[in-house]
């Protein structure tokens, strides 16, 4: 389920080097090259930066990657089903503001506030999914519209300024120095690991997941093969919106207060995590790859931060590095293989 034929080394052509073929086979199943890239970057950090191996660095990377990886989970699902979601940032912000306002300003119980946030996620995801499926409108433009509508409504609701403060215990979830049931691992990392296992299993080992791939690869064939394409598509968008809202809730704890632009950086970053992981539009890839993508991006961010480069240099290196990493495994099939 992946980039398969694209892996063939361009210099040897389709030539039958058995070892290369075996490696390709492996790469189709396991994201070897992504793992390799991650390991190489980490080792580079270890060898060039003092204290890079410390727990503090590791946890900083993990906490950052958790938030990014969770934000990329929904995008992965939507990309697999053949769509794209540009409203992720708005849902993150909405989840964030709803929690901060309801708990902080209106003194609701956390449970009720979370329920409201999730309901908004479900509703917004439904709008995304239904409009783009029923009316066959480009998902890109639907999600941009929903994004504007949602952030506008949130803005109106709080009359332009978020004043709430998130419940304190929410903050401990995302603290790099936090503990999970007494074990010294930040809770958000554990949450991410659980989510990754669940989503990974759902995608690769359940009917719902399989339907996602079938729909993403060939919608008409999926319909003819009795997949409920409409539900699959719509559920994918709902999942994406709900996951984004959850990231917003976690971020409320992370930053401590509501902020209507908190999701903005996650729009392209989550897409980058998906891409660096090697998931491609229409049924190629899985969530494990996005997990690796988020880790790679977080390690890169930390490496750049440690080197104290100018923000311009950081950007240029990040862009170039993504290109190199993705170039290892995530390229398109040749035209000549598609005749």
């Amino acid at each position: 389920m992946t980039t398969d034929t694209a892996v063939a080394d361009p210099t040897t052509g389709e030539g039958g080097v058995p070892l290369l073929h075996t490696l390709n086979e492996w790469q189709r199943r396991v994201p070897l090259l992504q793992l390799l890239a991650l390991a190489a970057l980490y080792v580079y950090g270890l060898s060039t930066i003092e204290g890079f191996g410390s727990q503090r660095v590791l946890y900083a990377i993990l906490v950052n990657a958790s938030l990014l990886g969770l934000a990329g989970a929904g995008q992965t699902i939507v990309v697999l089903v053949g769509g794209i979601d540009f409203s992720i940032a708005a849902f993150i912000s909405a989840g964030n503001v709803i929690i901060a306002e309801l708990c902080g300003t209106d003194h609701w119980s956390t449970g009720a506030a979370v329920a409201v946030a999730l309901a908004v996620g479900v509703l917004g995801g439904l709008v995304n999914g239904v409009l783009s499926y029923r009316f066959k409108v480009e998902p890109l433009i639907v999600t941009l519209g929903v994004s504007a509508l949602l952030s506008g409504l949130v803005l109106k609701w709080i009359n332009g300024s978020a004043t709430g403060v998130a419940p304190a215990w929410l903050g401990t979830l995302t603290a790099a120095n936090g503990t999970t049931f007494g074990i010294g691992i930040p809770p958000v990392v554990v949450i991410w690991a659980v989510v990754a296992i669940v989503i990974g299993l759902v995608l690769t080992r359940t009917r719902a997941g399989r339907n996602l791939y079938l729909t993403g690869v060939n919608q008409s064939a999926a319909r003819l093969a009795l997949v409920r394409v409409n539900r699959t598509w719509i559920y994918a968008y709902v999942a994406s919106a709900v996951l984004a809202t959850c990231v917003g809730i976690l971020l409320a704890g992370y930053s401590g207060s509501g902020n209507v632009t908190i999701g903005d950086p996650y729009l392209f970053q989550s897409l980058a995590a998906v891409i660096v992981g090697g998931t491609m539009f229409g049924g190629r890839g899985d969530y494990w790859r996005t997990v690796l993508g988020a880790l790679v991006l977080s390690v890169v961010a930390l490496l750049l931060s440690a080197n104290q480069l100018s923000s311009a240099a950081q950007d240029m290196i990040t862009g170039g590095l993504i290109l190199v990493v993705v170039g290892l495994y995530g390229r398109e099939r040749r035209l000549r293989d598609r005749i």
């Binding site: 890109l140 941009l144 504007a148 506008g152 923000s311 170039g320 390229r331």
Partner: protein, 324 residues
């Protein structure tokens, strides 16, 4: 009913017709609510503030038309970079002549577009991947060129571009240039080759079309247009800040989609993108004219955008269903 059928027929054949009707409708409403909007003296200002988005939308079009998941999300940073290059590098060094500035900008745009094209067509990166990386790199480059403060400056012809050359609104030139270039290219086989490659690249390749060349040309053309958009933006605001990078990319692509161009490639038109951009501009303007409570404006903008695309889809898809 007959009018509706006619409308559907029209929309089915001319995908940009919906954006055209929408833009026309919005223009009428805008003008009805505020006659001064269409006053002759106001044109130059209106067109000048419309030009950057309009040209950015047109710049996003060739890559999308070229198919294979084609999209260029580096248009926003690219036009910002070009804006910054003018105010930070060219004008302060006395390079103020349009015969220097314009060719330099177009060359930078086309060259960066060509790099995107090579990444996509030769190195076979997925277009989103290639142009997302380009987006990040160009953003960094723009920050670098900008320096510590936001550079600003202008010269007489750039002021005229944001105003008017005699009676002619300057923005007509920046908005018209991409259309004219497109028209000239459609006199060559290029535009047809572009649609063919976008419609089915494997077929085009099997028939002997030089697919990589067509794709590289498409991305270069988009870059060239981004150069024009950069000039339009620079003349309007007389300064350049890297932080503006993010603004145009998604808005421009939304305009392209609204203009009836399929993001799957091979269907659509440059004119559609212009009309899509006009619709978005006029929706925003309408919100100003009717002075909706400021806190509502973002939400209403989103709702109107959704409403417009859904109505467009209902009208167009009905026709498609009838054909099938």
């Amino acid at each position: 009913m007959n009018a509706l059928d006619f409308l559907r027929g029209l929309l089915g054949k001319r995908p940009y017709a919906f954006a055209g009707l929408l833009a026309l409708l919005l223009l009428v409403v805008n003008t009805a609510l505020q006659p001064a909007f269409l006053a002759f003296g106001n044109w130059a200002a209106v067109l000048a503030s419309f030009a950057p988005l309009a040209v950015a939308a047109m710049a996003s079009t060739p890559a999308i038309l070229s198919g294979g998941g084609g999209i260029d999300i580096s248009i926003g940073p690219l036009l910002t970079l070009i804006d910054i290059v003018i105010v930070a590098n060219l004008l302060p060094n006395g390079l103020t002549s349009p015969f220097v500035v314009i060719p330099v900008c177009l060359a930078i745009g086309a060259a960066i577009g060509a790099v995107n094209g090579v990444l996509v067509a030769v190195l076979r990166f997925q277009p989103v991947v290639a142009t997302l990386c380009a987006n990040i790199v160009i953003g960094g480059l723009a920050t670098q060129v900008q320096g510590d403060t936001v550079p600003s400056g202008s010269t007489s012809w750039t002021k005229d571009l944001a105003g008017s050359f005699g009676p002619v609104p300057g923005a007509l030139l920046t908005i018209g240039a991409p259309l004219v270039i497109w028209w000239a290219l459609s006199r060559t086989p290029f535009v047809k080759a572009l649609y063919a490659v976008g419609g089915d690249d494997a077929t085009a390749f099997s028939a002997g079309v030089n697919v990589p060349k067509v794709r590289i040309a498409a991305y270069s053309l988009g870059g060239l247009y981004a150069g024009i958009a950069g000039i339009a933006l620079m003349s309007l605001i007389s300064e350049g800040a890297a932080s503006m990078s993010a603004q145009y990319t998604l808005l421009a692509i939304a305009a392209v989609a609204l203009g009836g161009t399929s993001l799957a490639g091979g269907r659509g038109s440059l004119l559609g993108s212009l009309l899509g951009a006009a619709s978005i501009y006029l929706i925003n303007n309408l919100l100003n004219v009717v002075r909706v409570s400021t806190l509502w404006s973002t939400a209403i903008y989103g709702a109107m955008l959704l409403f417009a695309v859904v109505v467009g889809a209902v009208l167009t898809n009905a026709r498609r269903r009838a054909v099938a």
